[in-house]
């Protein structure tokens, strides 16, 4: 293998003490994958239990601990860091023609903070777990639950600093290290998405941090700011918690949208339709996303006036997302479309995110939410966005930039089969849950009336298919590392500065200063034809 960032130091120490953003991205990828499968194991047991109406697989306390573990791990240890810390870390400097992030050592620190927080959280789960749900509502979490709440929250607190450090790093990098001539409106949309995400990470995460501290303090002091029995207010907790946790979902989805905006133009050979609108929509989603958190509290006792305000704002935040869906669709028009694995995942994102987003509008409507809240309708809605959206986009990005990062191709047919299995398995798992929720099946219940069993069986079967789809990449990516065909610098004939350097890139990214294109996404369906899996000369 010729010299690259992968061969620049072969000891474990050279990896654990690296400040190279590309190596740190890989460290994140390994850790995140581990946590993904732990969270997935919890989900597997949940779906096995829910295949039958009776609570016959696990006891109710264990069930509560399982869905809490699933939520905590998937939200904080997988979804929040995945695209920003893996793809963002790897690609941002490459996309802007820089040799690293603004603060490389803080980048390494952020990985250690993530791992430390993750291990503390896992320890709490192995010591016996937490049964409050990932939302930790008070006063149950502060006054009554005798599970490992404090320890888990300490883990979440530590991980939060990883997020903040990453956000600061990305913001400064984009302001200070762009190549000469690379102005903001020439940046790829993925960079815009990472920037907006970083703003949210910096501004929202600290509120979660202080909220976890207050919950721990309340558990220790038993004072009752969040407990109505003491004259306190459980909604104070919920306001503080959801002030972070709603923007957090945009942390999960904006980078995913950024990935889709990179993949779709490449495999349709068309520039993104309405680039500026897409950039402004990203900023719009991030900013309006701070104004809608009360839609998680419509039935909590929040005032009707506040609920009305939050409902209206939640409808408004859907607008920039809808603009993006329209523009992606328009990007495909008259394109020369090729269904490579990244494209399959990206197209899957557009469809499934649309369903997730539209069902979000149902939930934003006060009258409907009264009936749908805390049912499986909500569970289906957010899984359509988080899994059908964010996870699929993560996989799209992994497949799209895999050749760049590793210098190898993966097996094309197996990757497409896996993508199809994921799509089919996902819909089989979660579409029935919309129906279950509309019929009234509550969430977080470990037993249910027999009339819900058929749909639950479909859902559990789908989870099995989904699991296979998720496991397959482990196999063919491993194969790719060992025996994959060598990839050229730009196997997909993509635009974007990251494709101008070698695959895999040298440690300092660019041997000669890269060429800054006058506009991003300079594709032409007529001229270049479908991208091939082989190297195409630009």
């Amino acid at each position: 293998m010729s010299a690259s960032y992968l061969t620049d130091g072969l000891t474990i120490r050279s990896w654990l003490a690296t400040t190279d953003h590309k190596r740190i991205a890989i460290l994140y990828a390994i850790a995140i994958t581990g946590f993904f499968f732990v969270g997935g194991a919890a989900a597997t047991i949940i779906r096995l239990e829910l295949a039958t109406p009776a609570g016959d697989l696990v006891g109710h306390d264990t069930y509560n601990k399982l869905f809490t573990a699933h939520g905590v791990i998937m939200v904080w240890l997988f979804l929040i860091p995945s695209i920003p810390s893996v793809l963002g870390n790897f690609l941002l400097p490459l996309m802007i023609g820089a040799s690293d992030l603004a603060f490389p050592r803080i980048n390494l620190l952020s990985w250690y903070l993530y791992v430390a927080g993750g291990l503390v959280t896992l320890a709490a789960l192995f010591l016996g777990g937490v049964d409050t749900g990932w939302t930790f509502y008070t006063p149950y979490s502060t006054m009554f639950s005798n599970t490992w709440v404090t320890l888990v929250l300490v883990g979440v607190f530590i991980t939060g600093f990883s997020s903040i450090a990453t956000g600061v790093n990305f913001i400064v990098t984009l302001h200070a290290l762009r190549a000469p001539g690379l102005t903001w409106f020439k940046l790829p949309l993925f960079a815009w998405a990472i920037y907006a995400t970083s703003l949210i990470l910096v501004l929202a995460t600290p509120v979660l941090a202080i909220t976890t501290l207050l919950v721990v303090a309340e558990r220790l002091f038993q004072v009752g700011i969040f407990d109505p029995a003491f004259g306190g207010d459980p909604l104070l907790f919920q306001h503080l918690f959801w002030f972070y946790s709603h923007p957090a979902v945009y942390v999960m989805v904006l980078p995913a949208m950024g990935v889709v905006s990179e993949v779709l133009p490449c495999f349709a050979r068309r520039p993104v339709f309405g680039y500026r609108a897409m950039a402004w929509a990203i900023l719009g989603i991030a900013s309006v996303g701070f104004l809608v958190w009360g839609h998680h509290m419509f039935v909590s006792g929040q005032s009707p006036a506040a609920s009305l305000a939050f409902s209206l704002l939640s409808f408004i935040v859907a607008i920039p997302s809808a603009i993006k869906v329209f523009n992606w669709t328009a990007t495909l028009y008259k394109g020369a479309i090729r269904f490579d694995a990244p494209m399959l995942y990206a197209l899957g994102f557009v469809g499934l995110f649309t369903i997730g987003g539209l069902t979000g509008l149902f939930l934003a409507s006060l009258t409907l939410d009264v009936h749908l809240t805390d049912t499986y309708f909500v569970v289906a809605h957010f899984h359509y966005i988080m899994v059908g959206g964010a996870v699929m986009a993560y996989f799209a990005g992994l497949h799209f930039w895999w050749p760049k990062a590793t210098g190898r191709m993966y097996h094309e047919l197996w990757s497409r089969i896996a993508a199809v299995l994921v799509f089919v398995g996902f819909n089989l798992t979660f579409f029935p849950q919309f129906l279950l929720g509309a019929q009234g099946m509550p969430r977080r219940y470990h037993t249910y009336p027999p009339e819900f069993q058929v749909l639950n069986l479909f859902s559990s079967a789908g989870a099995g298919v989904l699991a296979i789809g998720y496991l397959m990449p482990l196999a063919y990516f491993a194969w790719s590392l060992l025996r994959g065909a060598k990839a050229g610098d730009n196997p997909f004939a993509a635009t974007g500065i990251e494709w101008q350097t070698r695959s895999p890139p040298p440690t300092h990214n660019f041997e000669i200063p890269p060429f800054v294109p006058p506009r991003p996404y300079d594709y032409d369906a007529q001229e270049s034809g479908p991208a091939s899996g082989l190297e195409v000369k630009p």
């Binding site: 023609g97 820089a98 040799s99 690293d100 603004a102 603060f103 903040i164 956000g167 600061v168 790093n169 913001i171 400064v172 302001h175 200070a176 290290l177 762009r178 190549a179 000469p180 001539g181 690379l182 102005t183 903001w184 910096v202 501004l203 929202a204 995460t205 600290p206 509120v207 941090a209 202080i210 909220t211 501290l213 207050l214 303090a217 309340e218 002091f221 038993q222 004072v223 009752g224 700011i225 003491f230 004259g231 306190g232 207010d233 104070l236 306001h239 503080l240 200063p513």
Partner: protein, 203 residues
């Protein structure tokens, strides 16, 4: 490393300063959550809040405010001072005032603990609804502030040592960035002072 073709003409953002300001923005939201909890408590338990606040030591609190304001002035001078040795001395003085602040705070806390004002069993003002919540917030807010002070003192001590020896990582640029952090910790206290000590001092 490539430099940036900046969108705002003529001004190149100093990465360190921008990074510190972005971090301070996050700190505003960090302490900000506590202020929201405080606002809830003050509006919900007005008697408890004013009654409990009277038990804080307003003399020591005022002295500490003066100490911290003075330390901010010193570190501002230290950041502006071109001569590295003068800068180092100013940084050491700031750190020393920081240590003094923490010592006074420790005296306060000890007295409050002795007087049964720490939330928990035997809380002295248990009859007044909200008093215990006030003191819970009091200890969390001043405790968190104190942790930030400790980190700031350590940071300034390290920089002072470097400035004394004219190290490249302890130049005016880096001192200015560290001073930003110190000023922020001062601003937090500027708000803690009236909110914790001055709820009701009349009569």
């Amino acid at each position: 490393m490539t430099r940036d073709a900046h969108a705002l003409p003529g001004v190149e953002p100093d990465a360190g300063k921008l990074g510190m300001w972005a971090f301070l923005a996050s700190e505003v939201l960090f302490f900000g959550g506590l202020f929201v909890a405080y606002l809830y408590g003050r509006t919900h338990w007005p008697q408890g809040w004013s009654g409990a606040s009277r038990h804080t030591d307003v003399v020591l609190g005022t002295v500490n405010t003066a100490v911290l304001l003075t330390s901010s002035a010193l570190v501002a001078l230290g950041a502006a001072a071109p001569a590295r040795r003068l800068s180092a001395r100013l940084l050491w003085s700031t750190a020393a005032l920081g240590v003094l602040f923490l010592a006074i705070k420790g005296v306060e806390w000890h007295a409050e603990w002795r007087d049964g004002l720490v939330p928990g069993v035997d809380f002295a003002l248990a009859d007044t609804p909200g008093a215990e919540e006030f003191f819970a917030l009091y200890f969390v807010m001043t405790g968190l502030h104190g942790v930030h002070m400790l980190l700031g003192i350590a940071l300034l001590a390290v920089l002072a040592t470097g400035a004394r020896r004219d190290r490249p990582w302890a130049q005016a640029r880096q001192v200015e960035v560290a001073a930003l952090y110190w000023h922020f910790v001062d601003v937090v206290w500027i708000f803690l002072y009236p909110l914790l000590y001055l709820v009701s001092r009349h009569g």
